[in-house]
Subunit: 475 residues, 2 copies
């Protein structure tokens, strides 16, 4: 395995170290990716445990003086710590995960998902395997990054105390993660969290994720007649819950594409001019996105926002499922007794998932026709949104670290948003530390899909940026 790196014009000992030790990174990843640590499949529980053990051993080999495998109610997490000798040094906690997504449909993979294979692509060599970027690649670059940091700065211990928490259930919804954070809060104490489970906008485009969205869900049941009625005898004269559901959901968005739940936007932090400007410079070929990953014929959404803003920076309401009445072959002439819908809401800071249920209930109650009763089920939990503070010194350090890995200045680092939701908000809530995001993925990496890959030059940049980051955070 090999990759190419842009040549810098200034002295860059971190890059020199990374570039001369690529083999270590590639060999580590090759070994780790062969372990099918699919957390969603109980048959692979042993592999998830083996993945944790492999990582613990690799961290020890890297030099981390403290490495522990932490059991949870489910799959084990790996914790490591390398204290700085400087008593005033801040502490950074890297978050990642060592479990991977399932691989079906297997027949769509060009290479076996657990036999890592290098393929020469248009942007450089690619490593194909399940977990190549999500998230083993993103965790593995920290091993080389830490060694590059120490070598380049001539230190025995890092400039900041570095901790890692690499969980084993992220692809299964992190069911035991919050409990683990509560239980291990003291060991995990830190000044900043560095999430390494995301990526950048495009190859050769330095960028930083600044936020992830939260998630809340609701299920709505509407009831009309006590039983399905004959539409010839009753149709047109009693309320039909499917008609009521259609009208209700048709009113979920207004003509400007905004969610109509009263109060929904109240806690939304507006997008600042600087962030909008930096997001607008992210290269994004909407036609290619529609033809490719979005597999859609048109864009749609909230008026006044770009597609990248809609999927990353704005809250949404999405009907994920809807059903009621007769759905078999032919027809059945009924006025059905019930109609159902499942909705999820993506949230942005500072919306709270627990606020959504009462909003949905009030909105449904205000929009029910006579003769229809509603039941709204909003499970407890949900995921809070999270965001970096764009003006903090930590963010300044991150932007300088990324910029150096791309031979540019910090002002050239663009901002992106992650539209999905994960356990990152738990880190903020339980550890009380601000978030930074440093990942080497690309939107074209096919995470969760067949032929997942990582672009090796991006992975090398990740290692280098991590090395710079520990130095910059200490400064």
């Amino acid at each position: 395995m090999d990759g190419t790196l842009p040549s810098g014009t200034v002295s860059n000992p971190e890059r020199e170290y990374v570039h001369s030790h690529l083999h270590d990174l590639h060999a580590d990843l090759d070994a780790w990716l062969r372990i099918p640590s699919i957390s969603a499949d109980p048959a692979h529980a042993g592999d998830v445990a083996a993945s944790a053990a492999w990582l613990a051993e690799a961290l020890r080999r890297t030099g981390f003086p403290v490495v522990e495998v932490w059991p949870t109610g489910g799959a084990p997490a790996v914790f490591a710590e390398w204290p700085s000798a400087d008593p005033n040094a801040p502490t950074a906690l890297v978050y990642g995960h060592h479990d991977v997504q399932p691989v079906d449909p297997l027949e769509l993979w060009e290479h076996p998902p657990f036999e890592p294979t290098v393929v020469e692509g248009p942007d450089g060599p690619e490593l194909h395997a399940r977990g190549a970027i999500d998230d083993k690649g993103n965790v593995a670059f920290h091993l080389l990054g830490m060694r590059a940091h120490l070598a380049a700065t001539g230190r025995d211990t890092p400039a900041v105390t570095v901790k890692l928490l690499v969980e084993g259930e992220e692809e299964s919804g992190s069911p035991h993660f919050a409990a683990l954070l509560r239980e291990r809060r003291d060991r995990l104490a830190c000044d900043v969290v560095v999430v390494s489970d995301t990526g950048m906008a495009a190859p050769d485009v330095p960028s930083a994720v600044t936020a992830m969205r939260g998630l809340a869900d609701a299920e709505i049941t509407l009831r009309g007649p006590a039983v399905d009625l004959h539409s010839g005898s009753f149709g047109g004269a009693v309320p039909n819950p499917l008609h009521a559901m259609a009208s209700l959901l048709a009113g979920l968005h207004d003509e400007r594409g905004r969610v109509t739940l009263p109060g929904f936007y109240e806690k939304v932090r507006p997008l600042g001019d600087r962030e909008r400007e930096l997001m607008s410079r992210v290269p994004f070929d909407e036609g290619a996105w529609l033809a490719g990953p979005a597999a859609s014929r048109a864009t749609a959404g909230e008026e006044g926002y770009s597609t990248l803003e809609r999927v990353g920076a704005r809250p949404t309401a999405e009907v994920n499922g809807m059903w009621g009445g007769y759905t078999g072959p032919g027809h059945k002439t009924i006025v059905p007794a019930e109609a159902h819908a499942k909705l999820t809401f993506r949230l942005v800071s500072d919306q709270r998932p627990e606020d959504v249920g009462p909003m949905v209930r009030a909105w449904v109650d205000a929009n029910l026709p006579e003769g229809i009763v509603a039941e709204v089920h909003t499970p407890p939990g949900g995921v809070a949104p999270c965001a970096s503070d764009l003006d903090s010194p930590h963010m300044g350090a991150l932007l300088r670290a990324i910029a150096q890995a791309f031979d540019t200045g910090p002002d050239a680092v663009l901002f992106t948003r992650e539209g999905g939701s994960g356990p990152e908000a738990d880190l903020v809530e339980h550890l009380g530390a601000p978030l930074l995001f440093l990942g080497a993925g690309l939107p074209t990496d096919r995470i969760h899909s067949p032929n997942e890959r990582v672009l090796l030059p991006m992975l090398h940049r990740g290692a280098e940026a991590a090395a710079h980051l520990w130095r910059e955070l200490a400064g």
Copy 2:
């Protein structure tokens, strides 16, 4: 078995004959109802054939000189003819069916469904059995009615030529009925059709059904993304077919409850003042209807029409089923690829079922958001609406016949509408004859449900009205 009849103040030999021969009617019905002629269940095919044979024998016994069992592609029909000796007499064709609905759930029957049982009820003796009124009771009263007609008028042959066509597949959608009508058109030629498969508004309320509704159906599929998409990465930025389906169906009715398909009301014959006035006098306890058969919390529907008009005399659009996306437990954060809905339309004269498909297609096309494509499936067929000519001499004869059976004048006979749809329109189309409706059922007879019954005094009135009708049609 026994029943009571109101005593008339004028001479009524038809009633006297019926009243003194009730035993024949009761005995016939008792025997016929013991044959479980469930056409929907192939295991009962032999019973349906036995039911046809029993009826043929009963018609011969009654005196019909021509009685034939006609095979079809499915269950057999029974044909009978008793020509009038008067060469100028018109011909009437009675339509009914000898098959019955299934009986599940059996445990809800108070008496075994095929062991006819007389129960004393608040309005007189009731005969409980599957088919008691739908439709064996309605057919059986014609046997006694014909004998009463002959005895009361002292004739050897009826005043009009009377034919009967009693099919065996009505409860299975009459799949071979139109073909039978085409094939036997010459034998079935007639001047008027008397449908005996309906009823009256209430006990002691003389009324005539004047129309039945037609039926057309459509299935709509909306497609958005080529595959289900992750709502975190794509939600809020591409069109969601469930949102599009909700908006589409929310617009199926306007704020006045009218169907919005362009042209839908163009061929609707407006309700005349006389018919509205006669319908408005039909006793109808809306509260009891809501609490009982309609099992609903409120009425709903087209502005400007009563509930009885809405279910009988106005066309409707009903969503019978709707589905799409994730419908299992928990949530799944997707923008689904597809959404589906099944719709049926009840039609009134002179709407045509074949017009509905193109209307639905045009309406869907005009209301699709960008990025959503639609497929509209409208199966061929459907059922045409049918209606009596309220001003015809035949209708005058029917009203006089019913009025005499209730000791009143023809102006006191109210009008009702049958909201359901059946093969009656085929009779109009293939035989070119106008329709009359004469049936002895009541809205409270629980047809198609457990504990189906007929109120015996209503059955006796049906026999008497039939006897009067043959005389009145000749006049």
